[in-house]
Symmetry: C2
Subunit: 238 residues, 2 copies
DNA sequence: TAGTGGTCTAGACCACCTC
DNA sequence: AGGTGGTCTAGACCACTAT
């Protein structure tokens, strides 16, 4: 299943990451890229628009596609990204300690959203960076659609297992970030000082068919927390 | 300048917001929408894809475009949105108190990014919600491209002025969220308790021609801070 | 089988930038 | 004037979902 516009986007992204196109350079023109890849203009443009959304390039009318300089900080952080992916791409050499994995009842609500699945697999994982606890992740993997989870998956990449082994199409998530006092058990696991709050990220993730499949609460040590985002202005006013 | 795909997107977004299409409904098929708006398929699809990016609909192969239920929480918050826009669309009836407005030197760096503009207009604004200080915004509006700022603009909507009066095209931003101890002067303005940290959002915003124009540091009271995001999974792996 | 969305094409016209 | 990206069209073929 090789979509042309995705292959072009990946190829150009590779070349940008590997410095074959430097920040400040212009990519070849759309016409040239069409000839290079043997594709029509709309297909080539779809690839370029994808790169623009990610913040890798900026398209300038009448001039060309300019390579931006922000990927090093921004690249994989916004959007839906797993801890493992982040760890890999930022070279954090972090460590994951699985504290619990068990099956049980699913939460009935996530904020105001009612959850239909009755069962769930609960995982609790502590992320350790530089010998210091940094993040405590509590995940409910909803059943359906996830019925079993091999023991070692939680230790490594959950998303790789869901996408590659189970063939699930992870598509979108709603996320909420707040700062809160947390219960003593959690504070202890994160080695928080007395009354020190944690950054709490709650997210509900969906498959392409709109089934919710994962409900996550991440507790971050405030001194280790950093959220980086690249955002384009989305106007939809009237 | 009425782009067809934008007009279709706005029209459909209106109808979703005004409950003419309910969550769980399918929009008319692409073919029907083409006939309805008198446009080609690709143009209609561009509008639908825009709505999908915003999280208003989810496209399902072989079925149709499903109206999602998340806009009420998520709608205008992620991306680049001004406080005034948020205030309006969430009905926060917040209050803005302009503490300072003066011209001076621009900061030389924003994180690792060097700033070329030498001059800047500095604005300090306190956002008050329910009689309580909630956010302290410090903005540097870079000169160039912004040379003057009428007195009352800071009190109302800066973005409306930049986009509508100056005709600037606000396009993208990099944003960084951390939790930090802040200097006493700032802690006092936010009425923070002793040693209570603030949520600090630093952002650098750019025009469509890649000129940086605004450098903002927002200090949030942690108990008032909430960041809501709708994110689609962006894969660009190899 | 009929309807749906997903991808792709080969053209057209326009607005913008540069020379 | 010539090159660039932005928009739009009218088709085509495919894969998926229903019945």
């Amino acid at each position: 299943m090789g979509l042309k516009h995705e292959m072009i986007a990946q190829d150009l992204a590779e070349k940008i990451k590997h410095q074959q196109f430097l920040p400040g350079d212009f990519l070849p023109s759309e016409k040239q890229l069409c000839e290079l890849y043997g594709t029509s203009r709309e297909t080539t443009r779809k690839a370029l628009n994808h790169l623009a959304e990610l913040g890798l390039i900026q398209k300038l009318k009448g001039k060309g596609s300019l390579v931006l300089d922000i990927q090093k900080y921004t690249f994989p952080i916004s959007g839906i990204t797993s801890f493992q992916e982040l760890n890999d791409s930022l070279g954090l050499h972090a460590q994951t300690k699985v504290l619990q994995q068990k099956t049980g009842a699913a939460p009935k609500y996530f904020g105001q959203t009612p959850i239909e699945a009755k069962k769930a697999i609960f995982i609790e994982r502590l992320r350790i960076i530089d010998q210091q606890p940094a993040v405590l992740d509590q995940d409910y993997l909803l059943d359906p659609p996830i019925t079993v989870l091999p023991k070692d998956v939680a230790q490594h990449s959950l998303y790789a297992y869901l996408e590659n082994e189970l063939g699930l199409e992870i598509d979108y998530a709603t996320k909420e970030i707040t700062v809160e006092q947390v219960e003593p058990a959690i504070a202890e696991k994160l080695a928080l000082k007395a009354n020190e709050p944690a950054v709490v990220v709650r997210s509900l993730s969906y498959l392409a068919d709109t089934t919710p499949f994962q409900l996550t609460t991440s507790y971050h040590r405030p001194d280790k927390f950093k959220f980086i985002d690249f955002a384009r202005r989305k106007k939809l006013n009237h």
